[in-house]
Symmetry: C2
Subunit: 253 residues, 2 copies
Amino acid sequence: MMDATHPTDCASCPIRDIALCAKCDDGELAKIARIKSTRRFEAGQTIAAQGEGIPLVSSIVDGVAAVSRTLEDGRTQLAGLLFAKDMVGAPGEGQAAYDIVAKTPVTLCCFERHAFEAHVEEMPHLASRLAELALDERDAARAYLFLLGRKTAREKIASFLLFLIERQRQMAGSEAPGIIRLPVSRDEIGSLLGLALETVSRHLNGLGRDGILQILDHRRLRILDRAALERSSGDAPAPMTPRELQVIPRKSA
Amino acid sequence: MMDATHPTDCASCPIRDIALCAKCDDGELAKIARIKSTRRFEAGQTIAAQGEGIPLVSSIVDGVAAVSRTLEDGRTQLAGLLFAKDMVGAPGEGQAAYDIVAKTPVTLCCFERHAFEAHVEEMPHLASRLAELALDERDAARAYLFLLGRKTAREKIASFLLFLIERQRQMAGSEAPGIIRLPVSRDEIGSLLGLALETVSRHLNGLGRDGILQILDHRRLRILDRAALERSSGDAPAPMTPRELQVIPRKSA
DNA sequence: CGCCGGTTTGACATACTTCAAGAGAAGTGG
DNA sequence: CCACTTCTCTTGAAGTATGTCAAACCGGCG
C-alpha cells in the first residue's frame, strides 16, 4: 500500500479502462498521477454541497453516490445515481450545482482542479475521453427524461431495477446473479423516479405478487422473471411478436 | 465567398464564440474547415432518425430543433429543444439515439464524422470544447429532470415559458419584449413537459384568466405579469443563472 | 423491552388523462 | 370572396393513477 495521497496504483485500478484516463498512455498517466489523490467517504457523507466550490475533479472508483438538489423546505430531489467511473465535479464546474452524497462507502480518485484543467487543454487523450464521458452522462440524463415524463409508476420501477441489474452486472459479480441490492431507500427511489415512497412500495410489492420478483429484505430482492420485468418496463426491445408482448398489467387491487 | 459546400465564412459565423470550434485558433479552424459543409432543413423535416446511422457531426447555427423518442404505442417524449450551438450527432455517436426534427428552418454546420473524430483525438482545443458542450447539455438535461419529476402542470408550463423568454432574449430581440413566440404546438409542448395537450391548453388559458399572460394567437402570447409567472413556476426565487434551463422543483406552492 | 426509522397497507382526495364534441384558424378550390 | 376541408385548439365530463393522510408493522439497537 502506498502513502495516503497515492494509495492506489493506476496499473491495478479497477476502472483503468473506463475512467477519464482510459486513453492515456503511460507517460500521460505519470503526469496526471502527480496531482492524484484518493479519498474515501462513508455512506451518508456529503461529498460535495450544492453551491460550494469544489477544488477537486474526481471520479468514483467504487461505491454509489446520489446527485440531488435540496430545497428550502428541506425536500430533496435526486437527479441520478453515480457509479464507478462517473465524475464528481467535472472540469470547468467551478462550483457544485448539486449535492453529491455517498449512498454506500465511496472511493474517489481525485485531481487538483486547476492543474487537471490545464492537462485537459493539452492532452487530447484526456480531453476526448472527458467528452465521451460527458456525452454518456448526457444520454443517461436524457433517457431518464423519458422515464420521468412518460412512464407509469410500475414501468418506472421496472426500468429502475433493470438499470440496477445492468450496473451491477458491469460491476463484476459481487452478488449472486438475480439478486439486486438496492443502494437507496424507498423514499429515495421515489425521489429518483418522481414518485411518492408509498407508490414505490406498492408497486414493488405488486411486482412481487405477480411473481416477477421476490423481496428478500428491504434492500435486497431476487429477480424471478427477467423477461416479465423487461416487459413491465415500458421500453420496447425490438424483436417480439405482438402476441408475446401481450401484457395484462395487474393494477394494484 | 466560397462554394456551395463552404457557404459560410467562419470569421462571420454567428456562433463562432460558442460553437464546438470556439477555442480553435486560425490554423486549427482552417483544418476543420476543409471537412465542413452547411446544410439547411425546413420546419418539420427530420434531421436524424432514431436508430439510423448519422455520417455527420454537426452544430445548429440557426433555428430550433426538437430531440424526441417515440415508443411503439405512440407515447412520445421530447428530451429537449436544440438551439444555436447545440450539437446534432456528436462525435462517437455512430447512430442516433433520438429523432431530431426541425421546428423552424434550421441551418447546420456539418463535418464528416470520421475525419472530425480524428481531429478531436489530436486537437485538445476541439476536444475540451466538445467536453464543455457535452457537460452543458448534461446539466440542461438534469435540470429538466426536476421539472418532469416533481412539478405540477401549471409549474411546468410557467417554467417552460420562462425558459423560452430567456432563450429568446439571448437570441437578440427579434420580437417585441414581453411577447413570446411558441416554436411548437400544444401537443409538442405537452410532449416536452410530459403532459396531455389538453392539460397544456387548460393551464395556458388558466394563466391567461389569472391575468398573467394574454394569448394573442396560437403561437404568440404576451406576458403581462412576469413576477407572477415566476411565482407560478415553482422555482426558488434565488438568483442563480446557469447556462441552460433553470428549474428547481417545489411541491404545492 | 421499548423506542425509532424505514416500510407496508388502507382510505380518501385530486390532478391529470382520456374521451368526446365543438370552435377557430388556415389552407384549398371553385 | 366564399364554401369546404383540415388542423389545431378549446372546453366539458368522466375515469384513473398517483398523491396525501394516517395508522400499523417490522427490524435494529439502545
